[in-house]
C-alpha cells in the first residue's frame, strides 16, 4: 500500500474565516510574529502497490473534479507520499 497526497488551498483572494480565527488566536498563546494564517486541506489517497504515473494522473483528476472547486480553490500539490 502506498499513498498519494493532494493539497488544496483556498485561492488567495477568497476569505478564509478559519485562518483568520487561528491568526487571532496565536497571540493569545504568546506567538506574535505570524501576520496571517491560511488553512488548507490535505487529502491522502491510498492505493494498492506502488504509486505509478497513471495513479498520479488519476489523483490529479480526482483533485480537479471532486477534491477542489476551481471557482474558489487551487490544487497546489499532488505527489506520492514517501514512507
Amino acid at each position: 500500500m502506498a499513498r498519494i497526497v493532494v493539497d488544496v488551498m483556498l485561492k488567495p483572494e477568497i476569505l478564509d474565516p478559519q485562518g483568520k480565527a487561528i491568526a487571532n488566536e496565536l497571540p493569545r498563546i504568546g506567538l506574535k510574529n505570524f501576520t496571517d494564517v491560511r488553512q488548507g486541506k490535505r487529502f491522502e489517497l491510498t492505493v494498492d502497490g506502488e504509486v505509478t504515473e497513471e495513479l498520479l494522473a488519476q489523483a490529479r483528476e480526482a483533485a480537479a473534479e471532486l477534491l477542489s472547486n476551481p471557482v474558489i480553490e487551487d490544487v497546489i500539490n499532488v505527489e506520492a507520499l514517501e514512507d
Partner: protein
C-alpha cells in the same frame, strides 16, 4: 386562501382540508429532492402544495425523476457540508438526471434554495460558488430581496423591481465569482434576487440569487419556502403590513413555476 385568517384563527398545524380547486395547477408535479442531511425538503414540498401543485419526493440515490415537471433542490446540510457545501450531493445519481433534464431542450425548471443553490453551483448548472459569510457567523433573519429578473421560470408571478421578505439562514452564504462571470451575469440580467439594505454576508454585487442563461435554473440563498403560509412566515412583507408571522411573499416563487408550466401546456 389564508389571507382572511385572523391571527387567532391560524391553525397550529397545517390544514390541507380545503382541496386545491384548480386541477390544472394540481396536475403539475414538482419533485423535491432529499439527500442525507437535507432539512427543508418538507417545507419545500409544503410550499408546492400550498401553491396548488403536487409535490413529489425524490430520493438522492435514485435515477428516476418520476416524470416531474420541475425540481426543487432544498436547503439543509447535505452530507454535513463535508468537503465543500453541496459538493457530494452534486455527484448524487439523481443530480445526474436533473442536470441532463435541465440542459435538455425541454429545459426542466430547477430551483436550488440555500444548500440547494450550493449544490447547483457545484454541478456547474449555475456559475460561481458560496463561501463563509464575511462576518464569519451563522445568520438567521428576515431578509428583504428585490426581484431584478421576473422572466425566469421561478419569478414570473412577481413584478420587476418588486421587494419581498423571506427568511435567510446560513453560514456559507457569501456568493463569489470571478470578475468576468459577474460582468456576464449583470450584462445578461441573470441576477434574479438582490439583497436590499445591508448586505448580510458580503456577497458580490449584493447577489442573493441567479439564473442560468435560459432562466429555467435558478438558485438563491434565502428561503422562499419558509414564507408561504400566514402564521408561520416573517413579520413583514414587501407589499405592506402583515399580521404577526403573516409574511407569505415566498409563495410567488412556487406559483410562478406552476402557472408558467400550466400556460405552456
Amino acid at each position: 386562501m389564508a389571507e382572511s385568517l385572523a391571527p387567532t384563527e391560524v391553525p397550529l398545524v397545517g390544514d390541507f382540508s380545503q382541496p386545491t380547486t384548480d386541477s390544472a395547477l394540481s396536475g403539475v408535479r414538482v419533485g423535491v429532492i432529499t439527500f442525507p442531511g437535507t432539512l427543508d425538503d418538507r417545507d419545500a414540498a409544503r410550499a408546492v402544495t400550498l401553491a396548488g401543485g403536487t409535490a413529489v419526493p425524490l430520493w438522492h440515490d435514485s435515477t428516476d425523476l418520476q416524470d416531474v415537471d420541475a425540481v426543487v433542490v432544498p436547503g439543509g446540510f447535505s452530507y454535513g457540508d463535508y468537503l465543500r457545501a453541496g459538493a457530494i450531493a452534486a455527484k448524487a445519481p439523481i443530480m445526474e438526471k436533473v442536470i441532463e433534464a435541465a440542459n435538455s431542450d425541454a429545459a426542466l425548471p430547477v430551483l436550488g434554495i440555500c444548500n440547494g443553490f450550493q449544490v447547483l453551483t457545484e454541478t456547474h448548472l449555475l456559475p460561481g460558488s458560496m463561501i463563509k459569510n464575511d462576518h464569519r457567523k451563522f445568520i438567521c433573519r428576515d431578509q428583504v430581496l428585490r426581484i431584478d429578473n421576473n422572466e425566469t421560470a421561478w419569478t414570473s408571478d412577481f413584478e420587476k423591481g418588486q421587494e419581498i421578505v423571506v427568511p435567510l439562514k446560513n453560514q456559507d452564504g457569501q456568493y463569489v465569482a470571478d470578475a468576468e462571470t459577474l460582468e456576464e451575469l449583470e450584462a445578461e440580467g441573470r441576477v434574479v434576487f438582490r439583497y436590499v439594505g445591508v448586505n448580510p454576508n458580503g456577497s458580490r454585487n449584493d447577489i442573493a440569487g441567479i439564473a442560468n442563461k435560459r432562466g429555467n435554473v435558478v438558485g438563491l440563498m434565502p428561503h422562499p419556502e419558509h414564507a408561504v403560509e400566514p402564521g408561520f412566515g416573517p413579520d413583514s412583507s414587501g407589499s405592506g403590513d402583515v399580521a404577526l408571522r403573516g409574511g407569505a411573499d415566498g409563495l410567488g416563487v412556487f406559483t410562478s413555476v406552476l402557472n408558467k408550466l400550466v400556460s405552456a401546456r
